[in-house]
Symmetry: C2
Subunit: 404 residues, 2 copies
């Protein structure tokens, strides 16, 4: 008797939660579960902005996959997915292997959306992975070191531009504003030499968030020295700065560091798979399967689901990806057992944006929170995720346990 | 009654020891002492290679000048010396001030000697100051971070070339070889990807040092993964590597990091002062005065003194600069009192080269030392200097007290 083969691509929030739930729900004889991931670790994408600013070490953000999967039940392969061939029911890896599946889970994550703005790919950083965050951290330090050691003292070395005042941009700004005084001390740089500029094309920061909370966040960041340029578009990113436009006005700002965080799209491998993706995202059926592909589930940033109350897509958040992982595991089990699949319905408990150590804003169960309380809630949310992923042991090992 | 004005330029080993001894020997009414230095701190040039490799924090290497001078006796100015006008007995600072003197002490330090090799100034690092060392440290980290985050994995990012196997080069190699495994761990880089190459044009490492000790040092560094290219000249430093020649053979080695440590010369301000300097060095009289300039003393890397036993110049070491500071202070006091100046005679107690934590080679009072014993001696020498400069308090604050 052949066991059904379940192949999970990607160990982000969606893929790893699918895998961990599958290994709980299924016995060793029920299915063969294989997980493929680029690295031998899972990381918490929602903490990467702290690694990038240098306020948290990246080892706190990543978790060896061996620590959360049961190797007796899950076959784990470290490789990069090159191509999904749904007609052959195979997946080709960059290392050369070809894997077959009966059920496929696509959780290949995101890449920055550049909206066609020239120069972003070449000259801007994006907070996309442990490697990328670590490079941003080292780059920022190198800018301070270079400024200190140079005779001419070019101010643009100390100008840091963040493109986008969405969730990631705002959270990164909070950490960076906290980190800058430390860097000034370390490299003997006067604080007033450093500029942190946030450029946002839309009419305000954190679109869709409660206005009172947004105001609190913007005021707090401004007090920490962040300059906001709202309603201002980045027209081009150059090697040594950006070209901005606000209405008719054009402006060039020289900068050694541009961090682009104005939007994400799904994985290009998902886009190329011919399973109905637009910008790397598949508008999935109610049970998280790709339309017309009964054996392919899509989770996380590669999945598009619509919030029918407002007829707009849900934002691609960790919270939703985790919940998708649970339902996808259940639905695969149902298919194996010949049962009906269930509909995925996000259960949005709330949203909290951190603004640097001890500061945050949040809307949780319909209530607004500010400052220390919101920051506490954020840490509880982070710890809850670790608990769902790896139990109390993982919370103790990687959790944010210094609450106040 | 006018007090004689003593002006000390530079707070390196020579300048700071002159100043500290002057303030001990002279009363407040005997003279007006002024010290000018680029930074508000003195640093131990002999420790900079550790800061550059990242094995020691730069704050351990620098000492606020306020902590070792008596502000009641010494007027301290933070500024950069622009020009010495000996005919007017004045010194012009970059900030715009002009200072007058009756006695001048020139201790303006060194700059890298490039021997006309193209590209060194533009593309190579040199371990010349706290700022330069800190930049090298940040640059090395940035190379590891960039390698990790890149898809193409260009090996030259992890190739580190040290030009020169003299004292500084060897000591830096020792620290770098210790630091590399830590960086590999931090940035998830396999150790075998990293190359550390030392290029030396002469016939061997550490010219003039005892051959048995040199062999010990080279073997130890090779075991730590350093590749030596002896009898090999750097013909050119380019943006992305070096061109080497050995006899007829030419070779290009790609590298993101070239540290030039093959020689130093005296300060260009000293060179321009028309006080008899060649390559920034003044061949001083027996009492450390510039020939033909009875009011100008020269110390440290700007002073050239001949070892008559071998009819060659003494190397410009911290040990000699410190001893010069003592005799120059005594001789200035003698001149003020109408007494005869004394002849400077270096008292070479020994030389120890560190090879990374816990390892060194040394020749002290004519005896050879290796490994841990030599490393211990090195730390004692460092601590003795701190004691001479700022007493036991400074030893406890900045000393190397972890001996084993």
């Amino acid at each position: 008797m052949n066991k059904p083969k379940i192949l999970v691509l990607g160990a982000g929030y969606g893929g790893i939660m699918t895998t961990v739930n599958l290994q709980k729900m299924l016995g060793r004889d029920d299915a063969q579960i294989t997980l493929v991931n680029k690295h031998n670790y899972h990381y918490q994408t929602t903490w990467l902005h702290e690694n990038a600013a240098g306020t948290l070490h990246h080892d706190n953000t990543r978790i060896p996959i061996d620590e959360v999967i049961n190797k007796n039940k899950v076959n784990f392969i470290v490789d990069t997915v090159k191509e999904i061939k749904h007609e052959d029911k195979t997946v080709v890896l960059e290392g050369g292997d070809t894997l077959t599946y009966d059920y496929l889970v696509v959780g290949l994550g995101f890449e920055p959306a550049t909206f066609g703005i020239p120069g972003i790919k070449e000259h801007a950083f994006s907070i996309t992975s442990i490697n990328a965050a670590r490079k941003i951290k080292a780059h920022i330090e190198y800018m301070f070191a270079t400024y200190s050691a140079s005779k001419e003292k070019r101010d643009e070395l100390l100008t840091f531009i963040v493109g986008g005042a969405g969730f990631t941009g705002i959270e990164f700004l909070g950490e960076l504003a906290n980190r800058v005084p430390e860097l000034c001390k370390e490299y003997d740089v006067p604080r007033e030499k450093v500029r942190i500029i946030c450029v946002e094309a839309g009419p305000g920061a954190l679109p869709g968030f409660d206005p009172e909370l947004v105001e609190y966040a913007v005021n707090l960041l401004e007090r920490k020295g962040v300059e906001f340029k709202i309603g201002t578009a980045i027209k081009e990113v150059q090697e040594d700065g950006v070209v901005l436009s606000k209405g008719e006005d054009m402006e060039e700002v020289k900068s050694g560091t541009i961090v682009w965080s104005a939007g994400v799209q799904g994985s290009p491998v998902c886009e190329a798979a011919d399973i109905g993706a637009m910008r790397g995202r598949v508008k999935v059926n109610a049970d998280m399967r790709a339309p017309g592909h009964d054996d392919i589930f899509v989770v996380g940033d590669c999945a598009l689901i619509i919030n029918e109350e407002i007829d707009r897509p849900y934002p691609p958040t960790a919270q939703i990806a985790m919940q998708q992982g649970v339902i996808v595991a259940k639905n695969i089990k149902a298919l194996i057992n010949g049962e009906n699949t269930k509909t995925f319905k996000p259960d949005i408990k709330g949203t909290v944006a951190s603004l640097g150590e001890g500061e945050a804003i949040g809307l949780v169960f319909g209530r607004k929170y500010f400052g220390g309380t919101a920051s506490f809630l954020k840490k509880m949310i982070d710890n809850r995720y670790l608990f769902l992923l790896g139990g109390i042991g993982l919370v103790l090992k990687k959790g944010k346990l210094k609450f106040f």
